[in-house]
Amino acid sequence: MSLVIRKYCSIVNACINVDGKTAFSDPEQDGFKKFIRAAYRHFETDYPKFFKMDSLSKLGFLSVEVLLKGESISGKYPIEKTGIILTNGSSSLQVDEKHWDTIRNREQYFPSPSNFVYTLPNIMAGEAAIRHEFRGENTVLISEGFDAELIFNITDLAFKTGSLESCICGWVEQYEDNYESLLFLVEQSGHENMVEKSEEDVIFEPSTLLKIYKQEL
């Protein structure tokens, strides 16, 4: 069994690339919040819950959305065999600080449930799973920076045990003004459901992940 990267998508500096080609960029570059909204509209996403998400979930959600545009993963693989394995550096610190602000003063003590629910980094994976009905393994790991070995090992082992037949994996990071994401759609080469690409398949291995990371982010 060999795993291949069927598609990849990166978001950084107000620019969204798919397979290395620009799919959307916001020339105004006016902060993350405006950019991610403009991108949401550009890709004609119809999902009002998007606006309820924290910034990290918005970034993760939209990355998955763009990655899967034109793909029909849900139709090809059993939903319980499609997983999301994400890595991240700052966990949910941005929204953690927001929650802290609602409780630091006992005179103004109004913790918000819709804010608190996002104080876990794996909620972004949950949001994407709900949107696309992926019921397979679903994990968020924390690493200081993009860690190709980590992403590879966890994803590869999930395939090797037979727990997954397709997977979205990668790196989604957001804290204060910094944001970047790089996601890969991974499938098994030769799987009956996989439509072979016309060009050569990109093999899913740590060196390839690192190469794409250096090229994109």
Binding site: G89, W100, Y109, P113, F116, T161
Partner: protein, 385 residues
Amino acid sequence: MKPVFAGAENIISSLGFSAVENISNILTGNTGIAIDDSGIYFPSALPLSKVDYAQLENLFAGTVPGEQGKFTMLEKMFILSITDALQQSNINITSPDTLLIITTTKGNIDLLDPDLQKEFGKQRIFLHEMAKVITGFFNNPNRVMIISNACISGVLGIVYGERLIRSGKYRNVIVSGGDLMSEFIVSGFQSFQSLSEKACKPFDKSRDGLTLGEGCGTIIMSSGADSFNDIDVRVLGGAGSNDANHISGPSRTGEGLFLAIRQAMNLAGIIPEKIDSISAHGTATDYNDEMEAIAFSRAGLESVPLNSYKGYIGHTLGAAGVIEAAISLRSMKMNMLFRSAGYEHHGVTKKISVIKENMEKEINTCLKTASGFGGSNAAVIFQKV
């Protein structure tokens, strides 16, 4: 494929600082949940399961003299927990063959407080910084793996550790899960109206919410059967899943948890009839326990003795999976089913067999499950050799 053995359990909770101490309290029926009216965690009084910090500091001073000021409260728990586990095993933590997996939901979240942040620096709030401090303390040469996946973090740590050893990537994996009681967590769960005013009562008819806890648990896994000096237990396999239903509400059909259990049984090569006990998640919220009962029932596990340990030590979040698996390993080695504290009258719509009294029983195979925010579920199966 290499076999994976598990042992060397440590538990730090409101019931003590070692597995032995915790188990002895569970056997006597003591609960670590008590009303906290300190005002530190919440404006009004609330039942919580707290670690005795004075004793923790004492133990730490005895174990690592002169270094108390260097570590946060949670880091001290991790260091003590891993130290105690290592003493029950002959594995070498400084070897490149040994990986450390840290599981936590909020890490050093207490450092959001400006005073504490001044003392330790803002960097330490980042989970990778905290984890680096811990591996640095033990001189482990590998990049630490950190799982922060809500309340299933601990079980996922065991599942991934097992896979990494089985595939030959590492000989030993130390999985340590920890989370701290904090105003941050208490206020959030209170805003969700999911905290009970009394000690939580998993699966009981009168349950009305969860009780928060804190602590740390450690388990060592190894492909070497000689890594532990007591009875051998193997990790047969495990899996995760997602409900794909709601980010905070449990699934009404138990689908996600059912899928995780089914996949864990597939990987372990175990049929439902072979499972002797279940350590459930059992938070004691209305919807969670009902969801779990539906999933267990769908998986054909209605008659398997089941408990939740949260009536003893509360919900320890990212530590829960490891702490509760550690208790389960002890339960298997002792051939003893532990009473599910807080359960009196059956309170879920499906038949499940919640343990009402401590009971001797041959336990060869045990299923541990967890479910959490984000719709995530995980299951892992242990078996005595």
